[in-house]
């Protein structure tokens, strides 16, 4: 049995015990929870909850409430995080109700959903929270029954003393347990005894979703609330010069028109602070339709920005960022990238003597891959409710990283951080986009100026043309082969606008004696941000396509080549800091090989490709089968093998992998945000093509590597290798390599 010292969540437990003051802690259940309307009758009647710790509250009649600390954007943490607590608490899942925890950095650490880290970073804390609460309940029972604690056992929310035949539901001991001092050490369950974790549990929000309950930021309402919309420049590289709102002000339902400045001049930007359009024109009115229409009547003059430098401070690491003037276009981006690719770049990693090896190589294979900007296109556009007064500010918003947005907005509004209160609503998708809380700052400034509670709503067009895109990337891969077709050198040189994608210590680094990784960047006034598996989503497309071509040139099976390289990386790794576990990487390849029946004669008209990737601490491999029917590509089958350690909720995890596969195919085939004179050429779903129901694979089979390794994330890792597997399958089907995303452009030329 694993022992675990309580150190990680000391703060939260301390707070719980301090609040309880050694006595019974009563908090008001429904009111501290997820309040979506102002209508009191919608709230649950207050219950008396015995707060055992920051995650667990139990009523006398044995209702067990478990709080989920992280914001939810569809990866199902609202179910899976409480499952971990419930497992160690040893409760019947049927007795559990789940509630979104309040945003409170004094109680919870890392209330941030992103980087596939929610499970990984809370795993031990949540287990400890459950196990220590169970221990406190046992201690309470031991005291009441006057028996040694070691003789008190638990099963499915009930305490037992076998010798005397006594038993009590958790609820009966909860008030006593709340007064028990926090244990210094707890025993965690053996993984093999798990009953809740590793068994499929339905989404706790399922019924609310299918009945259309107001769960999302967009649904937040408050009596007297006004609607606000921003009017941002039509192109990157432009800013507001002047405006005439005289007509707008007279329109029905319109309250005010004014400008706000997102960040004050000279502000040092922190992580997730963005600078897309700093001065924004705002229309405030009674209803969405009125504001939407009035905004069209604004007479606005725009002008070009001048180049400026800004300081970005990411956890103490400061860097200068150049924001160039000018109106940028995809065409000029592409030619600039081609130029830059020829110039010397920054060396990111070097093993051996790649220059000499390439000079003496019998054969060099060189291929270049390109990918465009991508818009996140969360189905719920950006929005935020704000009510700012002289003394405090309240927000309700779909945010991935409320902690960072809170600091920025506090500074900008001139309020202490303690006076900022944020309610984390459910998010209608995130994919990285909602880590950037500019809309919270905008809403705060609007409410402050309008002196009213407001809800800022982005239209789809606002959302898609605001920037914070997946960067534009390119990479040239080179491989050196000797006369016997052995791989003797590997070189990747990647660049991007405005950041390069290269992860220098990732496979095949460590597997090739002579290795060089380089990167270069082109500054831009187009803003970018994290997009589901940042950088990896490009690398896996490029590198995994390249490995496929390399295997063909070496006369090897593509899975066999990868396994040979991984064996080398394991037995005799080249260089240091290789960031992957070669065995686990090989594990997903072997699993997908077995499950897909790789190597068996391919069915007529089916063409298959493989790709694997490691990112965000997890491993994923896919085999994709495509067919060409009447000149159209049809994705027939997808086989996915994933190693993310212990799988908390297998059915929900499968759902997420299926989604990543479909999202990956959609973005690989169609994803594209292009620009002309600074202006995005796609602004809604009638111009930005998204994958639809009739374009998905006929079959997706998902397999997880079974092991007892502490869990890592799943939101991102299955996404990147989809691009590579699809490109490789398309090659088999068309005998053409797909170097440029979106693949549909080249497919349509066939």
């Amino acid at each position: 049995m694993e022992k675990f010292n309580i150190t990680h969540s000391r703060r939260s437990f301390l707070k719980a015990s301090l609040l309880s003051g050694g006595g019974l802690m009563i908090s008001i259940g429904g009111l501290s929870g997820f309040k979506l309307t102002d209508k009191f009758e919608d709230l649950k009647l207050p219950n008396e909850w015995n707060e055992i710790n920051g995650y667990i509250k139990i009523t006398a009649d044995n209702v067990i409430k478990i709080l989920s600390q992280n914001p939810e954007f569809g990866q199902n943490v609202k179910t899976s995080l409480p499952m971990i607590v419930a497992e160690e608490l040893d409760v019947d899942w049927k007795d559990v109700i789940v509630e979104q925890a309040p945003f409170d950095t004094k109680v919870y650490t890392r209330q941030f959903t992103g980087g596939s880290q929610s499970i990984r970073t809370t795993w031990k804390n949540l287990r400890t929270a459950g196990a220590s609460a169970r221990q406190m309940l046992r201690e309470a029972a031991a005291q009441v029954w006057n028996v040694p604690i070691d003789e008190v056992s638990t099963k499915a929310s009930v305490l037992y003393h076998e010798k005397s035949g006594k038993s009590a539901k958790y609820g009966e001991m909860a008030s006593k347990a709340a007064s028990i001092p926090l244990p210094k050490e707890v025993k965690l369950k053996d993984v093999k005894d798990f009953k809740i974790v590793r068994s499929p549990r339905k989404n706790v929000e399922g019924i609310n979703i299918v009945t259309g309950k107001p769960l999302f930021g967009m649904d937040y309402t408050k009596e007297g609330m006004l609607i606000a919309m921003i009017h941002h420049p039509p192109a990157f590289g432009m800013k507001l010069k002047s405006y005439d709102a005289s007509q707008v002000r007279t329109m029905s339902g319109i309250k005010d028109v004014f400008t706000i400045t997102l960040l004050e001049e000279g502000t040092e930007r922190a992580i997730f602070d963005t600078r897309t359009f700093n001065e924004l024109l705002v229309v405030v009115g009674n209803t969405t339709w009125e504001v939407m229409n009035a905004r069209k009547k604004l007479k606005v003059e725009w002008e070009g920005i001048v180049e400026k430098k800004e300081t970005v401070n990411v956890f103490g690491n400061k860097r200068e960022e150049i924001i160039p003037a000018g109106l940028e276009s995809t065409e000029t981006h592409l030619s600039k990238m081609q130029e830059m690719a020829k110039k010397p770049a920054t060396e990111l990693r070097k093993d051996g003597d790649p220059e000499t090896v390439f000079k003496n190589a019998a054969q060099i294979i060189e291929r270049t891959y390109n990918a465009p900007f991508l818009a996140h296109n969360t189905m719920e556009p950006m929005n935020c409710f704000a009510h700012v007064t002289d003394k405090e500010a309240f927000f309700a918003a779909p945010l991935q990283a409320p902690e960072f947005a809170e600091r920025t907005v506090a500074a900008r509004l001139g309020l202490p951080v303690e006076k900022i209160n944020i309610e984390m609503t459910r998010m209608g998708g995130g994919f990285g986009r909602r880590a950037y809380g500019h809309y919270l700052v905008e809403a705060g400034l609007i409410s402050q100026k309008a002196k009213a509670p407001i809800k800022l709503i982005y239209t789809r067009e606002d959302d898609m043309t605001y920037g914070i895109y997946r960067p534009m990337y390119t990479a040239t891969y080179r491989a050196a082969l000797d006369a016997d077709k052995n791989l003797i050198g590997f070189h990747v040189k990647g660049g991007g606008i405005p950041e390069h994608p290269i992860a220098a210590n990732r496979f095949p680094a460590g597997a090739v004696d002579n290795y060089l990784a380089e990167g270069w960047e082109i500054p831009s006034n187009i803003t970018i941000g994290a997009f589901r598996a940042p950088r990896s989503n490009f690398n896996a497309a490029a590198e995994q396509s390249f490995l496929d071509e390399l295997a063909a040139a070496m006369g090897k099976d593509p899975i066999e080549l990868r396994l040979e390289l991984l064996k080398r990386a394991k037995d005799n790794p080249v260089g240091k800091n290789n960031d992957y576990d070669a065995d686990r990487y090989a594990g997903v390849l072997k699993l997908v090989r077995e499950k897909s029946g790789w190597g068996t004669p391919e069915k007529r008209n089916l063409h298959r490709g493989v790709a694997a990737y490691f990112c965000h601490n997890s491993y994923a491999a896919h085999v994709i089968d495509v067919a060409i029917k009447d000149g159209q590509v049809i994705v027939e089958n997808v086989y996915s093998a994933i190693d993310c350690g212990i799988v908390i909720n297998p059915d929900a995890a499968t759902n997420m992998v299926e989604g990543a596969v479909i999202d990956g195919i959609g973005n690989a085939l169609y994803g594209n945000l292009s620009l002309k004179n600074g202006s995005p050429q796609q602004n809604n779903f009638n111009t930005y093509r998204m994958i639809r129901c009739n374009e998905i694979p006929k079959k997706i089979e998902v397999y997880f590597v079974e092991n007892d390794i502490d869990p890592t994330g799943l939101g991102e890792p299955p996404f990147p290798p989809v691009f590579g597997a699809l490109a490789n399958a398309l090659f088999k089907a068309t005998e053409k390599r797909f170097y440029n995303q979106p693949f549909s452009a080249d497919l349509s030329k066939l």
Binding site: T37, F73, G74, K202, N203, E205, G206, I207, I209, V210, T211, G212, K213, P214, L215, F216, M218, D219, T221, I227, S252, T287, T288, W289, E290, N377, T378, M379, E380, P381, R426, M427, G428, G429, G430, F431, I457, T459, R460, D651, A652, N655, M656, E658, G659, A660, V661, I662, D663, N684, F685, N686, M690, I691, R692, C693, N694, E695, I696, I700
Partner: protein, 151 residues
């Protein structure tokens, strides 16, 4: 501004709005029926799907003035407790990820099955291709619909 008397989810409701206001915003802003979602405003995503006399329509393209005596059903009015066979299938197959598009998906599916109780795979795909899901839950949407067809 003009007064309209609307039959929504079996109840008659009065609103005083610009006649051009799409039903989407009448539902969301004036009647506080927030289950119908805004996704694109150009009938390209299906998040705002409601039933007009039992057939699926995109409420973002339905001016309030055109509704007249026709009956509107939103996700809130589909059932009281979420026990429509399609809703139950959605729960059984745990379809949702973020959940934002699902009310629209369900309203589309219900309408399709009403007009075609036994759709083929191609018919399901074709009909449901009007509803976008960025999370990529389409395969479960199909499975859920097919499970209703079998029953």
């Amino acid at each position: 501004m003009a007064k309209f008397s609307l039959k929504i989810n079996g109840k008659t409701q009065q609103v005083d709005v610009d006649p051009a206001t799409p039903m989407l915003w009448v539902l969301r802003d004036h009647l506080h029926l927030q289950g119908t979602k805004y996704g694109c405003g150009v009938a390209a995503c299906g998040a705002c799907t409601v039933h007009l006399n039992g057939s699926a329509v995109r409420s973002c393209q339905l001016p309030v003035s055109s509704v007249k005596k026709q009956e509107i059903t939103t996700i809130e009015g589909l059932t009281e407790n979420g026990d429509h066979p399609v809703q139950k299938a959605w729960l059984e197959h745990d379809v949702a990820q973020c959940g934002y598009c699902q009310a629209g998906q369900i309203m589309s599916a219900v309408s399709m099955l009403k007009n075609n109780p036994n759709p083929s795979d191609e018919e399901i795909e074709g009909y449901m291709s009007g509803n976008i899901c960025r999370c990529g839950t389409y395969s479960r949407i199909k499975t859920a619909i097919k499970s209703v067809v079998k029953k």
